[in-house]
Each structure stands twice: as structure tokens, then as C-alpha cells.
């Protein structure tokens, strides 16, 4: 009996050892490139090109970060990205919050059609709309401006935001609004005073989704912005990486500076983002 138990325990131990080993090897594959960027970014200038695989280079310093901030427009790029992203997210969420409320609480002609229209806009490949948007922006004379890029971004995540918010509003009991109505506020007042404060979690997720989409966008920015003062950080990093031989350290430093906050926000919000992603598709 004792022998059997020991054998069983050994087998179990072996099984868990194997599982851990397998997972750890996958973890290494996932994390190693990120660590490698970190390691390149703190390499001293004369060792930038080595075939050394050590993650902590000898004589590590932060010279690349200093150079990045001093010699390039990196801070300016970050600022441009921030301005563009916050504005588009603000516009996107405010448009979505009211539209989602209409879809969630009212019965009206064309409701189903509107929802289907929203879903079907998701079928248009994003790459397809870049060309007409580019031509429209050019025709309006908004090339190389913040406004051009904000216009191009502003509705791209709207259908998704509406879906998320509608799903969340649906979970708020109607009796809350009815109570507010009895207390003498209008329907809009009930929306503003009761529903909006209650749905801060969903609003912030929609905001985050809008934010990350615009923050990480590259392809539209590439064709609309062309002077390096107006670049967003994605364009700036691409440029640094393009001059591969000379700027690798600065590219790595910039990547780290951008990645860390994004990673933090993503890991913090991933739970909700994922449930939101599957929400729309399951209900559709």
C-alpha cells in the first residue's frame, strides 16, 4: 500500500515537473524578445553590435535613453500620440455612450437594422478604408495635421465601443431609472445622473480600447503625417529602426519607454477587454 502511494506520488510529481517545464519553455519564448530589447537598450555604445547573448551586458549604462531624449524628437512624438489618442478616445466614447443607451433602452424602428449595420461595418477590412480616408483628408487640406489623423481615427472603434456599452447598460436594472423618473428627472437626466455614473467600468474599458487602438496605430499615420515634427511614436520608432545600423540602441530604448506603460495598462485591464471581445461575437 505504502509502495503504491509512493509510486503514485512520484508519478504525479513527474507529471507536474513536465507541465512546469513545458510552460516555462513557452514563457521563455514569449518573454525573451522583450528582455532582449531591454538588454540592447542598456548596452554601452561601443558594444551595440555584439553577438553576445548575455542579457545583462558588461558596462551597462543608460546612454541610449539619454541620447534618445536629447537627440531625437522622441518626447515630441509621445506628446503627439498622446494628444491625438486622448482626443479620439474622448470623441469615440462620448458618441458611443449615447448611441449604446438608445440601443439598450428604447424600442424604435430600425433598431435591429442599426445593430446589424454596426456589425457589418466590422466586415469592411480596415486596410480598405485607408485610401479613401487619405484622399478625403487630402481634399480637405488636412494632410500632416493632428485634425486629419484625428478624423481618420475617430470612428474606427465606435462599433465595438457601442457593443461593449450596450452589453453593460443591459445589465443595469431599469428600476433604477424608473426611480429617478419618479423623482422627477427627465429620461436624459436619468441617463446622465444614474446610468453614466454606474457604468464607469464599461466606459473606462471602452476608453482604454479606443486608446490602445489609436496609440498603437501605424498604417494611417504613415500616409497622413509626413514631417517628423508631427510624427506619432510609431512612425518615429519605425524611422529609428529603419536606420538600423546606427540607431539600434535608441530604438530599443524608445521601445522600452513605450512598452512598459502599455504593458501595465493591458495587464491591468485584460480581463475586461477579453470578455468584451467575446461578448459582441457571442451575442451577434
Amino acid at each position: 500500500m505504502n509502495k503504491e502511494a509512493a509510486a503514485y506520488r512520484r508519478k504525479k510529481f513527474l507529471k507536474y515537473l513536465l507541465i512546469h517545464a513545458a510552460i516555462i519553455s513557452f514563457v521563455v519564448i514569449c518573454v525573451y524578445p522583450l528582455l532582449r530589447i531591454l538588454s540592447v537598450s542598456i548596452r554601452p555604445g561601443d558594444k551595440l553590435f555584439s553577438t553576445d547573448l548575455a542579457l545583462l551586458p558588461k558596462g551597462a549604462d543608460f546612454a541610449a535613453y539619454v541620447r534618445l531624449l536629447k537627440e531625437t524628437l522622441f518626447l515630441r512624438w509621445l506628446w503627439n500620440s498622446l494628444l491625438i489618442t486622448v482626443t479620439t478616445s474622448f470623441i469615440g466614447v462620448s458618441l458611443a455612450s449615447t448611441a449604446a443607451y438608445a440601443f439598450s433602452r428604447f424600442k424604435f424602428g430600425g433598431k435591429k437594422g442599426g445593430l446589424i449595420l454596426l456589425l457589418s461595418t466590422q466586415m469592411i477590412p480596415a486596410g480598405m478604408l485607408i485610401l479613401p480616408l487619405f484622399l478625403m483628408i487630402m481634399k480637405l487640406g488636412l494632410m500632416n495635421t493632428y485634425l486629419g489623423i484625428i478624423i481618420a481615427y475617430s470612428v474606427s472603434s465606435l462599433p465595438f465601443s457601442i457593443w461593449i456599452l450596450k452589453g453593460y447598460y443591459d445589465t443595469i436594472p431599469r428600476s433604477l431609472e424608473e426611480a429617478a423618473l419618479v423623482d422627477g428627472t427627465s429620461q436624459l437626466g436619468a441617463f446622465y445622473r444614474v446610468i453614466l455614473p454606474l457604468s464607469t467600468p464599461a466606459l473606462s474599458i471602452a476608453f482604454l480600447f479606443n486608446f490602445t487602438t489609436a496609440w498603437n496605430e501605424y498604417l494611417v499615420a504613415r500616409v497622413v503625417l509626413f514631417s517628423s515634427k508631427q510624427y506619432t511614436w510609431t512612425l518615429g520608432l519605425f524611422e529609428l529602426q529603419g536606420q538600423y545600423i546606427t540607431q539600434w540602441g535608441m530604438f530599443a530604448a524608445g521601445s522600452m519607454l513605450v512598452t512598459i506603460p502599455v504593458l501595465a495598462v493591458f495587464l491591468y485591464s485584460s480581463k475586461w477587454l477579453i470578455s468584451g471581445l467575446t461578448l459582441g461575437s457571442v451575442k451577434g
Binding site: L34, F49, P132, Y146, L263, F266, S281
Partner: protein
Amino acid sequence: MEILYSVYEVLWFVFIVIAGIALIEGYFYYHFQFYDRRWFFPAALLGFPLAGAAGCFAMGLVTEPVRIFLWLLGSEGLIAPFFRHIVKGRSKLAYLLLAPAFIGLALLLVYPFVFEVYLSFSDLKLTTIMQWKNTGYLPFVGLRQYIDVFTTSPLSEVTFWALLGRTLWWTFINVFFHVAGGFTLALLLNNHIRFKGFYRTLLVIPWAMPQVVAVLAMRGEFHAQYGFINIMLGKLAAAYPFLAGLGLGPVQWLSNYPLTTCTLINIWLGIPFMMVVILGGLQSISSSYYDAADIDGASYLQKLRFITIPLIRPVMMPAVTLGTVWTFNNINVIYLVTGQSGGTERADILVSALYKAAFTYNRYSYSAAFAIVIFAILFFVSVFYLKSFDAAKEER
């Protein structure tokens, strides 16, 4: 100072957007106030445009802004019956709430789409674009652009059919490995093990990183001399000569195997999403099924085949659909890897070729037609797919 100016510029824009929305809402409000009056319908249909036109002609203003104004008044004739017949007074609030979002979608999603269809029947390229910008003149060429899509190369050599084949292959390989990798990882993580949350956090890093950073960094790591992949291959070959004998060693990834490089990078990027979705599905399966199977003496593979896979299918199908569409439309990875000057076109799929045809080769109308063709392919595939999905649902 410049920063202040940029803030000012953007605030000004936000102000214009809000003012525009307020104007439009006011316009609708006015409609809701009057649409059921007896005089409103004929007045809106005939009176307003005529009055507007008459006023403009009287003042001798037939320049561009006035034409837009007339156009707006004319569309009034369409909007009025819409309100009269579709909008009932009770749901006016709903329409007021919906209006901003749908106006935005109409202007920035539907209109560009329609404009692209129009563009595909005309001839806009680098030589005619200034003329179009100044005068708005677009020569009509019928179906020529569509014929060109199938007969000439979107880029410099590769043909449409080669691109189509490559796209299907790219989509299949990527989605296959995303699902296989994600499924394996999710099964591994779904055991009762220590550090589960910690592992999960680390494993989603490729997905959580900004894609531009991830792809550019990986592109650097595929560099023939300094990328870690070749360094490792070189060390392996040096340490184990028999592997070198089998042909293992540093590879010119970017110049000789661009498509393989892109595929490897994209697989690396895409596995975490599938893992997270499948893990969610696995955790929602009640353990009583497995207990029952244990009593029946089922093996691990049998449990996998008859319990796990059927039960996570409802979670998987939307994720796989989404993943397929994302992979099919993935310009980012391929463009960031091969898009620099002197980049290759041997890795291009349909959408990245579309982007390059439009913005590297500046063939606007051609790429509009190309885009419509791609859209048609995607549309028919998804309709077919949804039909089969519904049929499968009814069978159950």
C-alpha cells in the same frame, strides 16, 4: 509655445465637433417639432429647396459653399418623409441619441466605402491627382481598373493569383498554429499548478506589447548577423557538428525567407489571444463531466476528444472567426517587416499589396478596384461561412 498651439488646435477641433453635433441635433429637433404639421411635408419637399435656390440666385451666389447648402436643402426632401413615415413621436429621443454616432459612421465609414467604389471606376493616379484635388475632375474608365487587377501586377512582379494563393496559405498556417499553440498552452495552464497567474501574465506579453514595437523588435532579431535567432543557430551548429551537417546554421531570413519570417513573427504574436480565449472556455467546463468520465474509465485522450473539444467549441468558433479575419487583413506585420525602401514583395499578401499599391506605387484607382475585389472575396467567404454555421446550429 508650440505645445500650447497644438493643444489649442485640438481643442478648437473638439469645439467644432461638438458644435457640429449640436447643430445637427438642433436640426433634428426642429424636425421632430414640426414633422407632423400638415404644411411641413410639402414645404420641406418643395418649398425649402426652391426658396433656398431662389435666394441664392437672387444674390448671385453660385459658388462652392452655396452649392453644398443647396444640396443639403435638397436632401431635406428625402429626410422629411423619412421622419414622417418611420419615426414615431415616441422614439424621438432614441433617434436624437443615436444621431451623432451614426452621422460619424456615415461620414467616415460608409461614405469612404461608397467613394472607393466610385473611385474604382475612374482613373486616379499620381499624374492626375493634382487636377482632381483642384477641380474635382475624375475621368470615368468603366471596368478597366478591374480588368487590370486580374491581368497586371499590383506591385512590380507578383500577380493577383499568386497573392491570393499566398494569402490563403498565410491565413491557414497562421490560424492553425495560433489554435494549436493556444490550445496546448491552455491545456497546460488548466492544471492545478503553482504560479498559474504569474505564467499567464508572462504568456500574454507578445499580445500586450504594442504591435509596432513587437514586430520591429522581432524583425531586428531576424537580422542575419546580430539577431539572436541566427546567433543561436550558429552556436548550435558549432556545438553539435552533426546538426550543421544536416544544414542547420545561420539563415538570411529577411532576404531569402521573408514570408517564413513574417509567419513566424505572426504566430508568436497571435498565440496568446487564442490561449486566453480557450483557457476561459476550459475553466467554464464543469468538472462533473470529467468525474463521470473517470468513473467510466476514460483515458486522457478520450476525455479530450469527447468532453473538452465539443464543450469549448462555442467559445472557439467566434475566436477562430475573428482570428481568421484578423490574419487575412493583417497588413501590419508584413508591412513593418518588408515595407522599407528596398523591401521585398515576396512576402506580400492581398491586403499588404493593396497598401503598397496605393501608397508606394501611388496607383489610387487601381488599388480602389483591388480593394473592392478583396472585399468581395471576404464578403462571399463570410456569408458562406455564416450560412454553414447556421446550418450546423440547426442540426443540433
